[in-house]
Assembly symmetry: D3
């Protein structure tokens, strides 16, 4: 077995040095030969409140330099088995949201054509729609595992969703439920491990192709201050980790981590959290061994 | 039934636009015809440590623009039943604390004379005393539900109190207990839902007129960094929400949210938390329907 | 002569208290009877780099509470002679720049129809274009006094422009020059009073109707860190003040102050500078007396 | 019994005033006659990522002004029984880590020679090694209670350790285990009180001389943003308090709180947390009465 | 000649280490034997806008650790000739401004009784009044050299004042002028050295006992963001230095540097500027040699 | 003539997108074929006060995305004539300063062996010494143009130096003067253009090989807050630009920009200033045409 790409070692270059790529992996220009790739989508013109997520991919890459290749909590060793690289950013159109959507879909269609699983650094949550179009075109109807403070789901999908926040009417969550979503309000899982919920999700979804979309505002602002539309009372980081780790075994065709807005967290810690969650997504992809 | 005041819609004006009033409700100059009103008290000359709470009402109003009219977690729809508005700020005396107290009491006496329930945006915790004087003058002896990191209770009241922090002597909490307070130290409720505690509170207080005073430093600084005298080991936001939501059914004559100090949280998230808690207070007022 | 609107006095309400309107002037919903009005345009979807100017109007209003009605440096007393108010914000479309432009033009057309001079709180610099369309429709061909770090001028106008920054080619400033602009690179006026330049401007423009567009990034980032596309080596604040004060005597039909981006200056001082420049613009309008 | 040193009272001098010493205790130049002493070690040249811990002692002292002498949660009254003071900082060598180590060991050897228990304000975690050398020279083989996000243990010791984070290989924690450490990964104690774990620790260690080393990055970045190598998914503050409080009864010969990096938390709240944990360490020293 | 107090050397203790005293000079409790002393007055209850100056003395001391004993620009070597120390803070009353004033006057009366010149670390500008009362009681009628953005002068004094800012009426500066003040508006000295002005001041004042009161808001917010009532268009730092240095030769009986508000400049640079200006004040005291 | 490397266009990829390289130029691993190269040296273990310059290269690269290829002020078009790229960072040793020096010297020796002029992104000022060793080994005795707040010059060189700050004795600047340096204290050039000074420098140095070392703390903290040892009263940015631009015509063999410390300026503006100064250095290299 050929040696896979590895992060630039801290002995070769201090972690605060070198060009900032995701996990210090090589930056490549094609998905050929890759099993999975990190892709940035620096778009925030779909943000309804505090903008800034356009700088999300850049800061997530910078903070990802602290990541090491082995998951001490789960035993996953993704870079032993998968060929992974950083594919850079999608060249979106800054001024016109409508023009950016097909640019994104086309970019992902090419990546998927190489049998490479895309892991996306957002960008605001709008970007999930054009990505899903590409993934659905490749894999057919998809289940969606969706973590978000808000009920902004898209189109003809079914799946699981965690959400919370004030709303406009009692039936705000009814439309997603009618589309086939199971909606779990955050306050129903306060103080609890999400492991049982994720077991139900795995039983429910089986080997249906699915996509994991994680809006960092699903996590409480105490942990993730740097986001565009913060809502109080959100998930804790242990719950967020259980959510992603609980997706191990699902037939994941892609995943994203969206809504990191660097201007609202100068410490960089929200981006560091985002980088960790993207690594956890890599760890649960099909084919990743557990040591 | 005439249509009640509603927040300026995000479709009529983007949330980051328009004059910043509490919940984007109309600003009015009289409590006549109101069932409840938001009132700011921009006073911080009673602060013992980090000042800045004078800017609390202004920033709570700015961040409250994210609030929507319906409570997705509890089903409360307060603006369907109550006429609510923003009454602006009390014109306190910046330089002399003693002169501000009667100004505040007089302002609230007028509001209460219109049968309007005051919901106060602080300001430091000193302001609760002159407000309570007005409420007690209107309703007679009051029970106090009090959340605070410190034991700073006032005068001839009884009630429930959550507190913590280092102290000067073993008997720091004895005086409030002698006044009839039940004091619950924060460390006794770590990791736990506060729902059972609040059930006890409701049984204990019955339909006694009561007042809810919530010092945001009762919540852990991880969630509420922007406050004047932070103490470690405080409530989580889920506990804070359960505390307020658990007051539903009490005979609430007024409530306040104090000690938001904007200079210590440039992200605005502490004020956003304060705005949400004030909305939750509105949701548990007598007469608010649950959908 | 009827008494004109005056700022809410600091004796009536402390400066940090009360609803935040521009200069603590009344908020009104119609330009009827006004000689001049402050208007916010909370749009930043035209920003090419750091977004956030959508929060500019809100923070400029908040910081403007420090302004007093009399200009100690120039002797101008604008509120003695003009009826001025805050007209709130234009309800722009957050997601589609193209839809916002006619909304803005229409709003300003109505204001101008009342013979009210608009003073605009931006928002990014895109907003000047639809405002100019309304002003030109009212007054005919306009001269433009334009301060900016960049050469982004619009359409069929002539005027004066201060600019600087790196560029794409030697002829970056040629197009504006061909349109009739006199371009003054910032480095040509370092260390110097701008009073002589402004005298030339006044001689050159005479009583041509003109518009003053001031991009706060024309000022050095040392003074105005909170902006979207900072450029080093800009004007000092004394130069900026001389620029605006030097427009006294021109036939000003409108003015704007754009590109204040609050997330990049948590101190609020960039917005405070913007608020002061808007007050200086008010002070040089036709009809303002000098005491 | 002679009266012990007490913190400068808030009535004698406001808490924000006066020279900033630890807990507002006297600053002394010798450990003679002291039972315990606070000592700063302003060294961060061993930091692998974000530097700044050199300012840790200064900011911990500044924020410690909020501490009061009595522990409301545990009843401990350490300053009634122990003579405690602030011994200032160790004059480390800023440029050469290797030269600083013997300077630190020598300083602590002198303190220990006076039978004074050192409580250390770090500084990065490197400083624990030279301190342990001095403590082990005094007390013989030591058990180590170690809280840390990382597995960086030292030398020939055994003990208990809480850790987490990504790693380089599946056996990252094996070496400390081979040295006799019990390693408790953080994710095994999520949502749980640490009281049962600490009871096991007390049974296991008995009256063995031991040392408590607490790296503030063992706590989640939500509570402790200001640190050099943050890791997600860490302890909550209640767990951290239970950890320290659970050491009551152990034969503690010294303790440290390391890795507070002030530039990464301008609010000062991470340093405030560090100051509180140092006070809790004082509260569990042998001989401290419980009221 | 006995050796005078010297700052703790950076070789003895790194600059970021050790207890933070002004210029790392000894902290003493009596003015006996001192020629000059630094004194903190941590009061900000007289602040009309952004509070926080109560933390001014503490942060000025912390940042003063960068100061060295010799003035490279002027050649002054104050610590060769004067015995100087840090006298700590005046224990003001936090809650009642009126009670603080006599406390301050009494404290300074004692210092002056030892023939020690007080150099004050503010605190808000209110503190100058009670200090002046003590100085005038000692020295008789005083001239005041006053730098400030605002016209807030006190009582029966004459002197020189630099000021600016918007005002309430054309005659805002008339009252101080009637008291004998020469008022120099800041915009009259833009772009210019203040050396000529200070020469006029020296000629005008001769050897009259005088006092230098420097409000850091006299300097432009670009240099001094951390202050309570910032005004645009202020002095540059070179002008501020020329102002203080130009007081050499005056019969200075005391000086203060007020209105540093740390929460509004987390970088500490405003406090660093304040510390430098206090050192420059020390350098122009009678008896300081020039090398 | 083959086309030279050009920055990634903002049309190809928005400026906030893509991997962050200096000026968005290609990242290469060898100096072969390059006329000039940007090199980062992420070392800050030589910092005496506030650390953080290790993150300087990363943030300078991120902010350099705003640079355009043409210098509007001077007409220089460096990328038309020179082949330029980003060579990444030197893999320094984080823990031992002494080990880093030869690593740096060796790295630069290789770059210089390709006749490539190094332009360095610091890192603290220590790095200039090992770079100069490599440049002097290549070019023989060097003149040094040195801008700094402090007098920290090295070894057997002569040249020009701008400096300021407090010192330890009257002769602090004598040693550099004895080595042949002309020292210009900053206060001697306040309010003035540096063009005349630079003309003298050019006459003095003629075509002697020389090196330009620019410590960003030579610029006033108003413009460059993010640095390790700020000193008040420094150069303005216009003066800094004149300094670099005035080196055009000198026989420059290398240049550096050091001491950008990102944690002390979260806005990124200090790094943006550093990026601009590095571009200006590129613009004055031998062979760069003026359009």
């Amino acid at each position: 077995m050929p040696v896979k790409n590895q992060p630039l070692s801290g002995n070769t270059m201090p972690r605060f040095g070198g060009i900032a790529s995701m996990m210090r992996l090589p930056v490549v220009s094609s998905a050929q030969g890759l099993n999975a790739a990190f892709i940035g989508v620096p778009l925030d013109t779909g943000t309804s409140h505090r903008p800034g997520a356009r700088f999300g991919p850049r800061q997530i890459r910078a903070e990802s330099c602290l990541l090491r290749p082995y998951n001490m909590a789960t035993g996953a060793a993704p870079l032993d088995a998968l060929q992974v690289a950083d594919l850079g950013d999608v060249p979106i159109n800054t001024y016109t949201l409508a023009k950016s959507l097909p640019i994104i879909t086309d970019f992902y269609a090419q990546v998927l054509a190489s049998d490479c699983i895309p892991l996306t650094l957002g960008g605001d949550h709008t970007i999930t729609l054009p990505i899903l179009r590409a993934v659905a075109a490749r894999h057919g109807p998809l289940a969606l595992v969706h973590v978000d403070a808000h009920a902004d789901v898209n189109e003809d999908m079914f799946g699981e969703s965690i959400a919370r926040g004030t709303g406009y009417a009692a039936d705000d969550f009814d439309w997603p439920r009618q589309q086939g979503f199971t909606v779990v309000p955050a306050h129903e899982v306060w103080y609890q491990s999400l492991a049982p919920l994720m077991e139900r999700v795995r039983r429910h979804l089986g080997d249906t192709p699915c996509y994991l979309s994680f809006d960092i505002d699903g996590i409480d602002p105490a942990y993730a201050a740097g986001t565009g539309t913060p809502e109080i009372g959100g998930l804790t980081v242990p719950q967020a980790l259980e959510n992603v780790r609980g997706c191990r075994g699902l037939n994941i065709g892609g995943a994203d981590l969206v809504e990191v807005s660097p201007p609202y967290d100068p410490s960089g810690n929200t981006a560091l959290l985002g980088a960790n969650l993207l690594f956890e997504m890599l760890c649960i992809l099909p084919g990743v061994p557990i040591r």
